[in-house]
Symmetry: C2
Subunit: 292 residues, 2 copies
DNA sequence: TCTCGATGTTCCATTATTCGGAACTTAATT
DNA sequence: AATTAAGTTCCGAATAATGGAACATCGAGA
């Protein structure tokens, strides 16, 4: 119900919720451990589950594929998909395959262009990029995921699994762990309880225990590392950033290939990263402080 | 009062949607030719109007602002906004102001990353950029708008959402007019009938008549110009591109400042632009041809 | 060609959700 | 403190979504 609830951004598990609301038990699913309490927002919630399904699929899905994934009555599913297509949120090609709709791009372009947090942070990200020569990210916590709001690359393009708008897990990214270190322990416990840990590399945290320990450490020292936890060969150092009203809880990071970024070098960069973070927060305070 | 009049993607009188463009069985004599029944897709349609309102606003809106814009009952509006917020499509800050939700970014990032048209076109856009040294765009027609799918700039890395994803009018952009030149005259008439012409510059088309004339010309010669019609001092030359099943009707363009791009130079570039367009379509044919 | 099965679409009574007026809280202003 | 504006919650009535089944459509194999 707080800032932790929509399952849409979680890596796995959005599909389960659909199955839940299909059969008997309704309205009484209070605190569920495995499936995060997906509070279906009526009609919209059901449609969003579908939109999630299609946008998360690796390839355009046929009607029957979606039918199998949702186990809904055919007629119902057909109407729901039709509505999504008619609104431009999905597109149906000549082969009867559903793909994400381009209208989503228009929404996102506006969402991004006007985002105050990003606008304020941008110059500081550029500065940090120039100081280090490596790629700089800005991300915020939404649900269990980090959504990357911005990315400033150097000249040498390094192939990385990161892109503006992409949602990444919070438990294996520098920005994610930095963000988690900002949460009150109560909220943190809740969030961790809903996580399912996927081991992307050998270094990825596999349990809430080890993660909690590291987060405590991060909270003390004020910066976080990603020791090739999300992608092999990629390291980063991150610092937490937040807005005063806690609408944005996230972080910034400097990321690069392990062969170039020794842990020692990353440790040296912790201070400039923290400084940039401090400047961003100062910028937010000036810009947004008065009226809160 | 019509609250679906957003300058977004839906056409008022006639929606150029799947129903129309589907296989063989056209000529069903558009059932909604005179009946302006804005077929709102039930609950979803109403919510999308709200989402449009908020994302199109220049600044975050307060509850009362939205209330005034929609003239809905307060209770109803409040519940609708709550649902959108709960799903992460909108965000409500500490001041009670509604802004676009970051979840939209996640959707869009996936929508973009997997878009086949864009993936196929990309290398040809890069090539065209290198040949001309100017900025190259790829856009497709959705409703009355051109949505930019890709942008290749000179030296600077692509700022993902700076232009990509933006919806622009079809009647005053090179890509837009090139796209319109592909439409069957019946569809074109329907679409033009729903347009309202905003004069961005002195050169912007102000009526369907002059626009229709130019589109006819474009259809003959196979390329289009933007003579500072959308933005003063900016010119472009564009060529139409389409996918075989007409799912994508759009174009590519080379854009730049008028002082550097004489009309004569643009005319010379028409051929390379058309060539790039042809290669993209060939790529689509190879990639998607078989199974249609 | 015909039939069969798989896939996709439409229909309609039932059911659940949304609607919207009004009462009820806050928060800001005089 | 009194008053107005702003936002939230409630509940019967209106409306939209549901889901089962009938209706199309298409491909492949007999």
């Amino acid at each position: 119900m707080e800032l932790s609830d929509y399952a849409g951004l979680s890596v796995k598990g959005a599909r389960l919720s659909k199955a839940d609301q299909c059969n008997g038990t309704e309205t009484m699913t209070s605190t569920d451990s495995m499936a995060q309490t997906t509070r279906e927002t009526g009609t919209l919630g059901k449609l969003m589950v579908l939109l999630d399904l299609v946008t998360h699929a690796d390839t355009p899905l046929r009607f029957t594929d979606i039918l199998a994934l949702t186990s809904q009555p055919r007629g119902t599913l057909h109407r729901q998909l039709s509505h999504l297509v008619e609104e431009g949120l999905l597109e149906l090609d000549g082969d009867g395959r559903y793909a994400p709709g381009l209208r989503l791009l228009d929404f996102a372009a506006r969402s991004w262009a006007r985002n105050e947090f990003r606008l304020i942070a941008e110059p500081h990200l550029v500065e940090l990029q120039q100081a280090t020569g490596e790629t700089v990210h800005l991300g915020v916590l939404r649900g269990q995921s980090i959504i990357y709001l911005d990315k400033v690359e150097g000249r040498q393009p390094v192939r990385m699994y990161s892109q503006i708008g992409n949602a990444s897990p919070c438990y294996c990214t520098g920005v994610g762990k930095a963000a988690l270190s900002l949460l009150p322990s109560e909220n943190l416990v809740d969030l961790l309880a809903g996580l399912s840990f996927t081991s992307f590399t050998a270094s990825t945290h596999a349990s809430a225990e080890t993660l909690t320990a590291e987060i405590r450490e991060i909270a003390e020292q004020g910066y976080a590392f990603d020791r090739e936890e999300h992608e092999a060969g990629i390291r980063c150092v991150a610092a937490p950033v937040w807005s005063e009203d806690r609408t944005f809880i996230g972080g910034i990071s400097v990321t690069g290939p392990a062969y170039r970024l020794s842990m020692e070098l990353l440790r040296q960069w912790a201070v400039p990263v923290q400084l940039a973070a401090a400047r961003i927060m100062e910028g937010m305070r000036i810009r947004l402080g008065p009226r809160r």
